[in-house]
Symmetry: C2
């Protein structure tokens, strides 16, 4: 095996594949990066068994300055190899495996010999059997992920809740996450109707990593779903994630469709006040703040009280407030996460009682995106 | 106590005093920030008992927009108070202590009440008895600190070595640090002759914090030394540090004044090669790399070898190489720290034997600055 490549381009490609590689894995060979050189392609693979990322670099891509002199394969210690590539002196790097599993890395006057492993021992990727491709714009996919991942459970006690529930029906994709204290649901319309409906649960960590990777993507992301695996294709990269097994709880009836108190307010105004009040609630014993709504007095007030630490109070300006008077307490971090997911737009909050979950939706689209938060009982 | 101040200016002042305040202290009141308002000054004090920082804000400084309505004093939880000030909505903040030790903080529509403590319980600063002021330019002081602090010991086994040895004699300041594996010594000429010579050991952590604080200073720093304390004055800030007790070891005879092999090389060239080679030595069991010098072959080579991981080799370009052939092994982190302290200049390395300490000095000033490193025995 022998190839040379432009070092700066190689660094970028390595960074992508390295996202899947963890030094904490119990499967030793997965701390490695698999490099396979064919006659005209260099294929980089990294995996943590949940996520597998594969980048295929082609000799026809002039920006890479990739020249393959001899095909072959090796697994090299990923972090170490990456550090070496980043620090080499010249902008060209040559990698050669002469004998056994030792790679010779040359750049300028520096020469490293790195012990690797037999690529035949690296786990094989399962074949994807699905033929159906769903296309989704990268910005839209990132938005869906960013708006739902905040409600993914971090507790392993109910593993299914650590995933995002993704439903494909007709020309609609629905993503839902809940940690049983809050819920996020986002629907998007797909450019084409899907032939086979799908109902899968993708690990939240996979989706978060995917969202980070597609920041710079312009072209549509291709989505393929198989029995126990999902594949996202973009550019020259394949992103595989395993699916979570089990049934996702039925969530459609959790979202109330009526309300007794309605507030319309700028998301940033509310977020800033929440984030101030949470300074106090974070210091105190209970991480709870109170929202007081009085339509008659045209009053919206955030307050917090912690005997040890002190208290905080702030009146807010708002767009509109209708319905019954209400005081409701909640975890300010849940509220903060939810508000951030809207960006700087106007939002509608709909309440029923101090003990029933309340919802946040964009003021100009009440159907496709909803955040639901369960209040905290303080009496 | 009641005052108002421009929030953005207050944030900067708080940041400085907060450098001294640790949340880990065992003396509970030192987690607090002491605020004292007099008729025309607001004095902020933070301390971790090693370092005490005091900033005096004057109502005559227009940029602060400081208005003191009522003198008084209070101690407030420092980190929490700082977070509140940073997140308040308006650029004016008013602080009032009405009854007891509760501070009312108002900015725009937000109002915090924060529980504080009696300022009378805050430790008093010792009086400085010294009358002698030594002046030193802030850039020069930072250079002295940055060039010596790298050799300060991190081990508590010999507490005196965790300090920087500072000597004032005639018109010269000498700073020395050693962790017994390496030594850094820097001399600077003072603008005036000191009347009373001084010989003190200042904690390395204090000096490091001081160096960070004086980054933006333009005017000379005033240095006062008392029996068990040192004071640096700059701008409207006082920076006190306790001194370390005990005798600093005699170091003047450790620096060899002859050599058998001499290398002149660009510090950055050598640093880059060292930092590459250290990637390998960090992965292996012994963090050691080898420098091979062969004046006859005009060869300067860095190499490293670790049976488990691999090996590395790099030939370097250099300015000049004279004397005997030599191969010497050392900790690349010590060498890296030393080289960084020179910046991108030419340095002279002087060696005697594979087991005797070697020195690095600037090529254009062999007297005032020296880094000494003890090699590692590898046979």
């Amino acid at each position: 095996m022998k190839f040379s490549i432009k070092r700066s381009a190689f660094i970028n490609e390595l960074a992508n594949v390295l996202r899947a590689i963890s030094s904490k894995t119990t499967i030793q060979i997965l701390t490695g990066l698999k490099l396979v050189a064919t006659d005209n392609e260099l294929i980089l693979t990294g995996s943590n068994s949940d996520i597998t990322i594969q980048s295929t670099l082609s000799t026809s891509n002039g920006a890479l300055e990739l020249i393959i002199e001899e095909p072959g394969a090796i697994v090299l210690p990923a972090r170490f190899f990456n550090e070496i590539i980043k620090k080499l002196p010249d902008n060209k790097v040559t990698l050669e495996v002469k004998t056994g599993f030792q790679a010779n890395i040359i750049s300028g006057s520096a020469e490293f010999t790195v012990n690797g492993q037999d690529a035949n021992n690296y786990p094989h990727l399962p074949e994807m059997e699905s033929n159906e491709n769903v296309q989704i714009a990268p910005d839209l996919l990132r938005e869906v992920i960013d708006q739902t991942r905040i409600a993914v459970s971090k507790q392993e006690s109910r593993p299914i809740l650590t995933g995002i529930h993704v439903l494909l029906t007709s020309n609609q994709l629905t993503a839902i996450a809940t940690d049983s204290h809050r819920l996020a649901q986002r629907k998007v319309t797909l450019p084409e109707t899907v032939e086979v409906p799908a109902d899968v649960v993708i690990p939240g960590t996979s989706m978060t990593e995917l969202a980070r990777m597609i920041v710079d993507q312009n072209e549509a992301i291709e989505l393929q779903i198989a029995e126990n695996m999902v594949l996202f294709k973009f550019g020259h990269t394949l992103f595989y994630s395993r699916l979570l097994e089990g049934n996702y709880p039925e969530t459609s009836r959790l979202i109330p469709d009526t309300s007794t108190t309605d507030l319309e307010i700028d998301a940033t105004t509310l977020l800033n006040a929440i984030s101030r009040a949470s300074l106090l609630s974070h210091e105190g014993r209970n991480n709870v703040i109170k929202l007081t709504l009085n339509p008659e007095q045209k009053l919206v007030k955030i307050s917090g009280d912690s005997a040890d630490v002190g208290n905080v109070e702030e009146e807010l300006t708002f767009e509109s407030l209708d319905g019954d008077e209400l005081a409701i307490s909640f975890n300010p971090d849940y509220m903060g996460d939810a508000l951030k997911s809207f960006g700087g737009i106007k939002v509608k909050l709909a309440f029923n009682s101090p003990l029933r979950p309340f919802t946040l939706v964009p003021a100009d689209d009440e159907v496709n995106f909803v955040q639901l938060i369960t209040p905290v009982r303080t009496f």
